[in-house]
């Protein structure tokens, strides 16, 4: 081999990042570009289910078998991203007995460990399950944090020499002599870590091969080279509950249907979902009835959901694909399998392959297959190691520690921090500096926030997905300003303001669909804090540098106040 081939991967979701890690571990040069943050697209908008395969065990056994294989792999290599909650397929009286049997047989045929338990046993596991649930099948479903998983994959890829560029949008493909030879990229804020206010610019990235792993956006990249990739994006809504009503994944044991799953996720539970085809993965209606319908349907499984607090809803777009000759009408009929489209074979366009379809749970397997494909092109004989080498953070570790003695943290805060950081806990949390809690809802301390800022620059949304700060029940009402303050020192005041506003916007976005009941009270309080106390609706200082030197350091203790007749509230000291 003359020289190491350079591969450009487009898309910083689970698929792209999995490919980047795999190729980098096999010794190839890799550059990955992502238009937003890591997980900006569909990956950041999924319900966090680590499939056991049970959901596909009747209709799509090939997918089910892949799922259980990858389920086992991820439990091994991504321990700090996975919580093995276990899962249940529950049967209500009106659900078909025949289908229940099919599900059970299907699981067994696919090698998914499954057992039947009675309604009482199911309620002993999950007290809030509906009383008329008759029975259930247990399966090894789990919860997985997509953000943490992608960030850990990116860190591993970088350790193996890959270059990861976020906030870098591909504006065109460079095609020479019928072959894709590179990308034209628009960096929002220069290359490297994102820092607000850094001047952006365009870059031409030459590559020996290009992989289009842009999921629902694959068609757009295809258009740049006049190849037709008919992804059929389908939207689904997910609603985040304030607390975990269940600690086990609850699936309804029914053939395909909307609103049939509750996934416990960190401190919350995520309800999912719906399935409706859309034209444009970036512009589709988000409608209130979708949320209502989901809560209404899922309360049949967990009645308390009807009254429970919702903190947020979000929509994701599945990158479904089916070969053009199938022609399904209903998006729920479209296969969840993935397809590797080699544009040389398909469209006589050399130098690029697209990967479409597929599921989050099988991201690593997809990465392995496409990496094999690329290596074959360059006659490289390198073995895939992604199934054996743990991700950074998932090397051997235990969450059971003495949090107060070791890190000076209160028990539940220490516990959550170590769960998030995995084997990186010592490196991040052992600090001699003061380490106050920055986000009380999720138990995130300054040390963890600073670690995230070190990784991702001034982008507070990137800090958010790394730490979960601002993702709890006040949705950033109390901690957004604190997070912005954490930028101080490294970054200037105007950068902190811009990053702060961007985080506030992102936090408000998802709450629009939760404005009733308790979350409405929360939003009212947040609005008061943000717009009045913090002036975020119209800050006279925005855009104008503040002359901090003009402030004195206040009155020190014991010193007589200079304006003795005016109290801090503007009233007089000697009375009201």
């Amino acid at each position: 081999m003359a020289r190491t081939p350079h591969i450009a991967v487009i898309g910083g979701g689970s698929t792209g990042i999995g490919i980047a890690r795999d190729l980098a571990m096999r010794g190839l040069d890799v550059t990955l570009v992502e238009q937003g943050n890591l997980t900006h697209g569909t990956t950041g908008r999924m319900h966090g289910l680590l499939h056991s395969g049970g959901r596909y065990a009747v209709a799509d056994q090939a997918s089910a078998t892949e799922c259980i294989e990858e389920n086992r792999v991820l439990r091994d290599i991504a321990t700090h991203c996975v919580e093995m909650t276990g899962g249940l397929f529950v049967k209500r009286p009106e659900d078909s007995e025949e289908y229940f049997q099919k599900k059970l047989d299907g699981c067994k045929e696919c090698g998914i460990p499954a057992e039947v338990i009675s309604g009482e046993e199911a309620r002993a596991m999950e007290p809030h399950l509906a009383k008329d649930v008759e029975k259930a099948i247990t399966v090894p479903d789990g919860a997985i944090d997509p953000f943490r998983l992608v960030v850990a994959n990116a860190a591993s890829a970088e350790e193996h020499g890959a270059r990861i560029e976020t906030h870098s949008k591909v504006t065109d493909l460079i095609i020479e002599g019928g072959e894709v030879v590179g990308l034209e990229v628009d960096h929002a804020s220069g290359s490297g870590k994102r820092v607000h206010g850094t001047e952006g610019g365009t870059e031409e990235i030459r590559a020996d091969y290009v992989i289009n792993a842009t999921g629902a956006w694959a068609g757009r990249i295809g258009d740049m080279a006049d190849v037709d990739i008919a992804v059929r994006p389908s939207k689904g809504v997910m609603t985040i509950m304030n607390i975990r009503q269940v600690d086990t994944v609850i699936n309804r044991c029914k053939p395909k249907g909307d609103a049939d799953i509750v996934v416990p996720h960190e401190t919350t539970a995520i309800l999912g979902t719906t399935d409706e085809e859309v034209e444009d993965p970036e512009d589709y209606p988000e409608e209130g009835w979708e949320v209502d319908k989901m809560i209404d349907t899922l309360k049949e499984l967990v009645p308390m959901l009807e009254e429970a607090r919702t903190i947020r809803s979000f929509w994701g777009v599945r990158p479904l694909y089916e070969p053009p000759d199938v022609g399904s009408d209903d998006p729920t009929d479209i296969t969840r399998d993935y397809f590797l489209l080699d544009h040389d074979e398909r469209d006589d366009l050399q130098g690029m392959t697209s990967i479409v379809g597929g599921k989050f749970t099988t991201y690593r397997m997809m990465g392995e297959e496409i990496s094999d494909h690329v290596c074959a092109k360059f006659d490289i004989d390198a073995e895939c190691r992604t199934a054996d080498e743990p991700l950074p953070g998932s090397e051997d570790f235990s969450v059971l520690r003495d949090y107060m003695d070791e890190f000076g943290l209160r028990s539940p805060i220490g516990r959550r921090s170590v769960e998030r950081l995995g084997s990186r806990a010592d490196e991040v949390l052992k600090t001699s500096d003061p380490n106050p809690t920055v986000c009380g809802c999720e138990g995130v301390t300054r040390a963890e926030v600073q670690d995230a800022i070190e990784q991702s620059g001034s982008d507070l949304n990137a800090v958010r997905i790394r730490t979960r700060a601002s993702m709890g029940n006040c949705q950033g009402g109390f901690c957004c300003s604190r997070l912005a303050s954490e930028l101080h020192g490294e970054y200037s005041e105007d950068i902190a303001r811009e990053a702060w506003d961007e985080l506030l916007q992102e936090r408000w976005k998802g709450q629009r669909h939760a404005l009733w009941g308790e979350q409405l009270s929360q939003a009212a309080l947040n609005y008061a804090l943000h717009s009045t106390t913090q002036n975020r609706d119209n800050d006279p200082a925005d855009g104008n540098p503040v002359d901090f030197a003009a402030f004195d350091s206040g009155v020190s203790a014991g010193e007589a106040p200079r304006t003795a007749d005016v109290a801090a509230d503007g009233g007089r000291r000697d009375g009201d």
Binding site: K131, I243, S411, I413, G443, N473, S521, L525
Partner: protein, 456 residues
Amino acid sequence: MSDAQSPTDFDPVEPNTGHDFEPVDVFPDSNDFDLRPGADSCFKCSVCDTNCPVAEVDDDFPGPKFQGPEQWRLKQTDDDYEIDDSVMSCSNCMRCDNACPSGVPLSQMHNTARGEYVEEQMSKTDIEYWRNRILSNYRLSASIASKVPRLSTWAMNFGPARWLMEKTMGVTKERDFPDFAPQTFREWWAERGGADASRRNAQQRREELGLDRNADRKVAYFHGCYSNYNTVGVAKAMVRVYEHYGYEVVAPEQKCSGTPMFANGMLDDARRHAEVNVSSMSDLVDQGYDAIASCTSCSMALRQEYPELFDIDGIEKVSSNTFEAVEYLRIHEDVKADVQAAEVSGELAEEFAYHAPCHARNQGLERQSVELFRDLDGAGIEDVGESCSGISGTYGWKEEKYEKSMDIGEEMFEHMEHADGEVGMTECPTCAMQMEHGTGYEIRHPLELLEAAIVN
């Protein structure tokens, strides 16, 4: 609507614990309540923290917002999720319950977490565990001590013994143990002829008052431990005042209300006592009695903590038929007019510095004594403000908490000094200890003044 009117359709926020949630069906012992849903009501405003008297003086105490909704939300039901040990610094004053504008079940969260901490994380061979257990089982110590009341009073305040208790057990030597009464209330009650005598007295009074001789006026007295073994005068006053209004009193079998046990996470002890109390009180409620307590923490326990923490047959019924002694009379009788018409002289003709206990505040009773006695001839009453006395039952008896307890009490002591009189008044026995300890004043109970004003 004018300010004087109040809206009728006010619907206070109820914490969402699920419609058909039946803890007895799923948990083998119901100390294992999952209170995560209570966190749904919290919008993090921190008003609970600003009202917490412990957080104000103890920088290591993270405050009720963390102890309650945040800790519960961060916790999971797996056994290896531990409760933070700071929950043992909460004094269980329950002010956070009242402070919360959104109905978060804070004290229920603290009590449950503390119970779980003591049960699962605290070493049962630890001296702190036994110190707390002995303190919270005051009834047991008092029942033994009152066999030889004078000797006990002397021995419990004998300097070298107290020094030893502080060094070995961590019970502060700074405080004086209360005197044990030569005769307990129950001994006096039996000697007096018990319920039969009370019925006769009540019937006679009903005739004097022009009421039906057999009118349905009967109450079951929950005297608690302190007015049985120590301030027997309070219990006697309760009986005489109630009989004066034609109520017949019974003093059913009863144990500790559980208040000190909740505060120390001894939920098994508390449950054992609660089972006796609920069983005897619910039988009487069925027969038309209301349960009356003269200690505001006892009435608090029966009303709020019992149904929040335990599932015992009849517990809701007892909870909704329990009243504080003065509260009950103010509901059913025109005590105010009687007090206005009366005059006191002698021992209780004093200016009283009145402190409302935190647990009285939680029941909405913080103004009742001032409202009742301010027009009483011969005596005066002044509210010393809304601060916590700081002792919170057993909290201020712990060697490591003593200083903090006195820091919390400082504001009350100052206000008592500023008040006109040199006699204090409160409904709560341990607040009374703290008031006396901080100022040297003698402390009386509102029932004693009420007796002096209207009986005889």
